[in-house]
């Protein structure tokens, strides 16, 4: 089941596989020019985090492992995922505030942007690892 959840979490990236959109996605997600980050990269990072939050919610809704159903949620994974989501939200909201304050402009919250990317990667790894 973890594989299925991971598949869902990464679907937004893999859907672009093998086409020009993948390159655009990578450029948008990875490009940090000097001390600023583009609004496009920020929007991709925000929505990637939102996608993993939605996937994490589905995982948390599963019954606890050991209570019967084969399709279940592990307490240890839950303990990792919840604080990561809450930390990621703070970064996401800070980036959105940056977009609002600087419409259409690059923003200087490079560290926050990188933190959000790291959190999204850590969440993906947590949901994928048994």
């Amino acid at each position: 089941m973890r594989k299925l959840l991971l598949a869902g979490a990464t679907a937004f990236a893999l859907t672009f596989g093998g086409c020009a959109e993948l390159q655009k996605f990578q450029v948008a997600f990875e490009t940090v020019t000097g001390n600023v980050v583009t609004p496009q990269a920020v929007v991709v990072a925000i929505n990637s985090f939102d996608a993993i939050e939605a996937t994490a919610t589905s995982y948390l809704l599963l019954p606890r492992c050991g209570t019967g159903p084969i399709l279940c949620r592990e307490a240890a994974i839950t303990a990792k995922v919840v604080p990561l989501i809450r930390a990621g939200r703070a970064d996401r909201n800070q980036l959105k505030a940056g977009l609002r304050a600087n419409p259409g402009q690059n923003i200087s919250l490079v560290q926050v942007y990188e933190d959000l990317g790291n959190t999204t990667a850590a969440l993906t790894a947590s949901l994928a690892t048994k």
Binding site: K3, F25, V42, A54, T57, T78, P103
Partner: protein, 101 residues
């Protein structure tokens, strides 16, 4: 359901094949069916929840990614619902884990 979810589901099904081919006992078949029945609603929910973020990413890739004030308001609403659903699920999971010790 998006293609990657379908691939995930197929991989899951493939993992059951050796048991089925080797002639699984009736109770094993029953448990496999029960498992697959549990997967369906979760797979549908995950697929549905990913639609809006994926659309937003496609939109950002097609244009400059610069969001209007209205688009940011819509994103706020979408994320408020997402956060509320997560908090509710996290609280319920926390209560279940505490109750289990």
């Amino acid at each position: 359901m998006n293609p990657q979810l379908i691939i995930g589901a197929l991989q899951l099904l493939a993992s059951f094949l050796p048991k089925i081919i080797s002639g699984a006992a009736a109770d094993e078949v029953t448990s496999i069916i029960a498992f697959l029945e549990q997967v369906i609603p979760v797979a549908i929910q995950v697929g549905e929840d990913l639609v809006q973020p994926i659309r937003n990413i496609i939109s950002a890739l097609r244009d400059s990614g610069a969001l209007t004030s209205d688009q940011l308001d819509a994103l706020d609403k979408q994320e408020a619902a997402l956060d509320a659903a997560f908090d509710q699920a996290a609280d319920a999971a926390d209560a279940a884990d505490k109750a289990a010790g």
